[in-house]
């Protein structure tokens, strides 16, 4: 039976690798390899992943002030450190909203008159964590989508869901970082030799069948880049083999594709690889050989560009002060990326972020990459310990987001190609899911602290219609945790619907902000762009 199958009809499929190959067989995915993004869209994607399942409601709300007393625990802990949790009065509007969307809200834990204060006033000790968003004037460029169904409450599956839009043990569509890198490749390949970068070997984005140029390049700390990205004589095995000459570069089809500076050995290997073209009867084998050819061409480009020297000569931090300007007295001063809370009973030192944040800044400032995935190395949010777990998640969700805000502040103050780095970069902050919510009234609260499949994602920077809250949490029929409220969605077929958002919609929204049309990529099971996130 031959199916008269169409790409649109396949939206209903929840497919795996074999079916993905089947779709390739029908030529349904060919278009996406060549898709070029819309003009005017941001040209970089930065995804920041908080692992373990965080508690976004403790920073961004997602509920009404009237609901706060029932779902945010009572203030507590002033005697041993900063006070955890917040009241209805603390949930303040910090964005303009607009377009029929609600304003962005944040739970203010700092003293508005003295943001760095850690003084106790009326039994409440102020917590500065979170203020960096205001310090760097980021609320207007930030929109948070709440109530996203990840489709799972398992860590590995939730991570896959967050990255590609389909929950499962393995990827069923390419990670969004790879989709974006692939889309931007044609227009940036001459000056961005590292299209897709991962700064931590954990949870590398998976490209599936996308071209090798969209696969993540693992870029570790600056001091260990040489062994993978340099051909200088410091490494003895390059001596006598690293002389480069300008040659005509050929693509897989043998057509001249500009010039390249190659070593003799690289040229010999590329010629040998291309010499195998057409020898196999299998298009799959031909594709495999082409991937090796294109991949080795890209390796040559990276080595010729002397990326290591470029990165060494590009500054990381230029504008941030050694400690946050509002930091006040010790022990809050923990370096540009550090924070502490309580009586220093827990803290995250700046060193936890130094390598990855420094490298991310250098990569973006040197304009070497289109897509960066940063698996945040600091705190594992999978607390699982009832009331103490909620307290730790409150403090570390705010701490992690505060450090991120400082990082975004540095981006905002940096100009690349005549534009603020933040304005030209879509930043996505996410986790695999959230936690089951505490709930109760007065002091009588229950502190379930388990995995919960509904979560929130923060969009910031370029292409984002900032200052908005999209969606929210439906606490009716509350059981362990809330579900997502309906949001406006532009479905893949173009029609507009209203329904709770899913992880696939987040991936589609990211791709849409990055300038891709909804038909330029494919996510099994259906997807749409969440309305109100993208700046029109």
């Amino acid at each position: 039976m031959k199916l008269d199958i169409t790409r649109r009809q396949l939206l209903g499929l929840g497919i795996g690798g074999a079916q993905l190959a089947l779709m390739n067989r029908f030529g349904l995915l060919e278009g996406r390899a060549h898709a070029a993004p819309r003009a005017g869209a941001p040209t970089r994607l930065l995804t920041l992943y908080l692992s373990g399942g965080y508690a976004p409601q403790y920073m961004w709300g997602g509920i009404t002030p009237e609901q706060v007393p029932s779902y945010i625990p009572p203030l507590q802990g002033a005697g041993v450190g900063e006070t955890a949790f917040y009241t209805a009065d603390d949930l303040i509007e910090v964005g303009a909203g607009g377009g029929g969307f609600n304003p962005l809200t944040v739970a203010r834990s700092w003293d508005p008159a003295d943001p760095g204060s850690r003084q106790t006033v009326n039994g409440r000790k102020y917590l500065p964590l979170g203020y960096s968003w205001q310090e760097h004037d980021l609320f207007g460029q930030t929109t948070v989508v709440h109530g996203i169904d990840q489709g799972t409450a398992a860590h590995a599956s939730g991570y896959v869901s967050a990255m590609c839009g389909v929950a499962g043990g393995e990827y069923r569509s390419p990670a969004m970082q790879c989709v974006v890198a692939n889309a931007l490749y044609e227009t940036t390949k001459d000056f961005r030799p590292l299209p897709c970068v991962a700064l931590d070997s954990r949870g590398m984005p998976v490209p599936l069948d996308l071209p090798s140029s969209s696969a993540p390049i693992y870029v570790p700390a600056l001091n260990s880049l040489r062994e993978s990205l340099s051909d200088d004589d410091m490494q003895s095995w390059w001596r006598g083999l690293n002389a480069r000459t300008e040659v005509e570069a050929k693509n897989w089809a043998g057509e001249i594709d500009g010039n390249a500076r190659r070593t003799l050995l690289e040229s010999a290997i590329l010629d040998a690889t291309r010499g195998l073209s057409g020898k196999s009867q299998s298009a799959g084998t031909e594709k495999h050989l082409k991937a090796l050819y294109d991949g080795f061409s890209d390796v040559s480009k990276v080595l010729a560009r002397d990326v290591v020297s470029v990165l060494n000569n590009t500054p990381g931090i230029e504008f941030l002060t050694e400690n946050p300007s509002f930091g006040g007295t010790q022990p809050y001063n923990m370096g540009p990326w550090g924070y502490t809370y309580g009586l220093a009973d827990e803290n995250v030192t700046s060193g936890a972020f130094d390598n990855v944040f420094d490298m991310a800044l250098r990569l973006m400032k040197a304009d070497l990459t289109s897509s960066i995935h940063l698996y945040m190395p600091q705190f594992y949010y999978d607390t699982h310990s009832g009331q103490p777990g909620h307290r730790r998640n409150y403090l570390n969700t705010r701490g992690g987001l505060d450090v991120i805000a400082r990082f975004l502040g540095e981006m905002k103050m940096t100009t690349v190609n005549g534009k603020s780095l933040l304005d030209d970069t879509l930043v996505v902050i996410f986790s695999e899911f959230s936690r089951t919510w505490a709930h109760g009234s007065g002091q009588d609260f229950y502190y379930n602290d388990d995995h919960w499949p509904y979560t929130s994602v923060t969009f910031a920077g370029g292409g984002v219609a900032g200052g908005r809250t999209i969606g929210g949490y439906d606490v009716e029929n509350f059981s362990l945790g809330p579900r997502g409220l309906p949001v406006g969605v532009r479905e893949e077929g173009g029609e507009q619907t209203t329904r709770p958002p899913r992880s696939a919609d987040i991936v589609a929204t990211v791709c849409s902000i990055m300038g891709l049309e909804l038909n330029d990529f494919f996510i099994p099971g259906g997807y749409g762009e969440i309305l109100g996130v993208r700046a029109s």
Partner: protein, 336 residues
């Protein structure tokens, strides 16, 4: 042989397409037409199934005709053409499933025991449909374009390279020394050493631990303790690491004394001015050894000229590092 009553019913359902031309737009949109006989079955079962298996669910078997065809009808785990008794799909409807779920729907009575007015179609009719399916109804032609090759995994790359280059952990990558705390400590120190992140302990390689793990990850190596399977992606990180390792390990192998794995016909110190013929013979030997294919004289000449001689100004050993690296990075050596 197709079941006649089913075909008649199927044709009646598909007739809605023609009828739709004479109806208002609203009416025509409310009618979903069966596209195939299998789709007829789907539509009849859908009211009981689509709630859990519709679009947007994690197992959207009933989301569309194509979903049903691809995930149920064409899936031998569920449907065995011509053999309803051995079709799990039927077993599930009858409450005799053999997998994680023993019945559908999962709650209450299995489908076969639902009141007749709650069944869109009887299980007997489903059985007839499967009986009428023939193996030939599936597209079983081999897919000519299916990928038949893959690149080496990290462990395969490491193990094959070590063997091809005549290197061993003991001789070339481990170093032992005395320490204050232990009488003898073994440390992994070789250039760009490769070792699985979750290899068994018993070896101290703390000096390089982070770089060894990083290299292993770049090659797509498995890290089972952290639930990370091996990857066969032809990623930039894989090829960057292969590029560096090929030259580092070839340098090690070329400089290893009496390394007959690489040098069978010539000494690595001999240049083309005195041993051109022997060098070519050795290149032919390496071609067969690394690529599992004999080289033609023209291929040997090309490698001799373009790789060996082209790098010989830096010395014959450097030229051999180039030749060796050429073979290590050759697609035939990197692929299975």
């Amino acid at each position: 042989m197709r079941n006649t009553p089913l075909i008649v019913a199927f044709l009646a359902l598909t007739a809605c397409g023609a009828d739709a031309e004479n109806t208002t737009e609203t009416q025509s949109q409310s009618v979903e037409c069966a596209k195939t006989e299998s789709d007829f079955i789907r539509l009849k079962l859908a009211p009981n199934c689509v709630g859990c298996h519709g679009e947007g669910t994690s197992a959207p078997y009933f989301a569309s005709a194509e979903s049903f065809e691809g995930l149920i009808v064409q899936n031998p785990r569920f449907v065995v053409p011509g053999d309803p008794d051995n079709s799990e799909f039927v077993r599930l409807l009858e409450g005799n499933g053999t997998g994680a779920f023993t019945q559908m729907p999962t709650a209450g009575e299995p489908y076969a025991q639902l009141p007749a007015d709650q069944q869109g179609i009887s299980v007997q009719e489903v059985r007839q449909w499967i009986t009428g399916l023939s193996v030939g109804s599936r597209d079983t032609t081999p897919w000519r374009d299916a990928p038949t090759t893959r690149r080496l995994g990290a462990d395969e790359f490491r193990d094959s390279l070590m063997a091809l280059l005549g290197l061993t952990y003991e001789d070339d990558f481990f170093q032992s020394y005395s320490s204050n705390f232990e009488s003898q400590t073994v440390v992994l120190r070789g250039p760009l050493a490769l070792r699985a992140t979750d290899d068994a302990p018993g070896l101290h390689y703390v000096d390089q631990r982070s770089s060894v793990s990083r290299r292993w990850a770049a090659l797509g190596g498995a890290d089972w303790l952290n639930r990370k399977p091996r990857s066969y992606d032809i990623s930039p990180s894989f090829l960057q690491t292969v590029t560096q390792v090929s030259q580092a390990w070839c340098e090690l192998a070329v400089n290893k004394a009496d390394n007959t794995a690489l040098f069978r016909d010539v000494s690595p110190a001999q240049g083309s001015d005195v041993a051109a013929a022997e060098i070519k013979t050795n290149i032919a030997y390496l071609h067969l050894r690394f690529l599992a294919m004999p080289a033609t004289p023209a291929e040997v000449d090309a490698i001799f000229d373009d790789v060996f001689v082209a790098h010989e100004s830096a010395g014959p050993k450097t030229a051999w590092v180039a030749v060796c690296s050429y073979f290590v990075r050759h697609p035939l050596a990197l692929s299975l």
